[in-house]
Symmetry: C2
Subunit: 203 residues, 2 copies
Amino acid sequence: MGERTAPSGTRADGKRRAIVRAALAEFLDAGFDVSVDRIAAAAGVSKVTVYNHFDSKENLFRAVVSGQLQGALAEVERQVEARLGDSDDVRAELVRACRSWVAALTTPDMLALRTLVAVESRRFPELGEAWLEHGPNVVFAKALTRLNDRGVLHVADVDLAVLQLAGLVLSPHLVHGRTPGKRLTDRLIVTGVDMFLGHYVRS
Amino acid sequence: MGERTAPSGTRADGKRRAIVRAALAEFLDAGFDVSVDRIAAAAGVSKVTVYNHFDSKENLFRAVVSGQLQGALAEVERQVEARLGDSDDVRAELVRACRSWVAALTTPDMLALRTLVAVESRRFPELGEAWLEHGPNVVFAKALTRLNDRGVLHVADVDLAVLQLAGLVLSPHLVHGRTPGKRLTDRLIVTGVDMFLGHYVRS
DNA sequence: CGCCAACTGTACTGACTGGTACAGTTAGTG
DNA sequence: CACTAACTGTACCAGTCAGTACAGTTGGCG
């Protein structure tokens, strides 16, 4: 009693996926306050079915957003890893990694997701924590540590350096409403990496 | 008809101030969705009185938030101006200005206000615009321009440089939920200014 | 193929909110 | 001091939404 089990079976799986897809879109578009009726309609599903799969709107939100969060962050990590270590030119290497980093975090969906998590962080503190702990910065901290170990960088405090690099190349996309254009984005990366290396590379 | 005139007189002024004060606190605490009843209660005022002064909840929000926005930004500007130009040591001068800048924008109220404006930017686009146009960055752009004109800096693109300096010293406070502690805040400023000057001061 | 879990649609409850009506009270100003 | 704008408190309307009840339908799995 109380804890009903979620429906299972091929049909149920399909419905569940449809609900999650629709809910994500609706949440990103209108925030947590979208009505469950609208989500159900967008999923082509009865409202009761939504409540058969997720026993409250809050749990639906948790499942949908945290799922997307995990996936997106894994994608960021994959991209940044792929761009590191394939060259001896540190500058070019770092610029490439930053391009992937910024690109992965500035898709419309990721920006909307970040805003959503920030907005609802009081109602769902766990989501904010998840963003910070398995967050994008952690990914890049590993990258910096690698460059440090290889001796090409001399970074005393990796966490501080990550904050600085993020501040230089990424933060302008996050703090403003409208995102900088492609030209400015690239200038921020190239000039930012220059500034960063000028400070942390002692020849 | 339609456009009722706001109440006037000494009593009305007091009530109005109480409403604005309470509304600001409640909006910052719980967002636009706080009930008008709660605002009225917090102001020690009847709900009808609220509607006598502001003919809709949306207009109340506009008046309260934009008023606070103007005041806070003016305060930032005043502080930064006061910290500039009183020394020949550019580094110390810039560090002082950044300290004022960061301090003025990271009070709990300012952080909450920023979040609130960001959240409701779709319902109240004007507020988001106001933040950007008369925003804190504009203040600092003037400061950089002054240092540039005095010949101590060589900044080709002031807007880019402001984004970078803001990214280095300010953005860590804005993008995370929890704000960095006092020690980290100061290290961000000092090291950030170092990095910034290393790039923009050609001796 | 037949059964039962899963689904649909509608209608409902209960709670809440923005905004208004109204009748009576308070207090600043001419 | 008296007049009236401004204020109070309560009661009310209309709309919305999370979540449930119920009776009937569908479709996948044993």
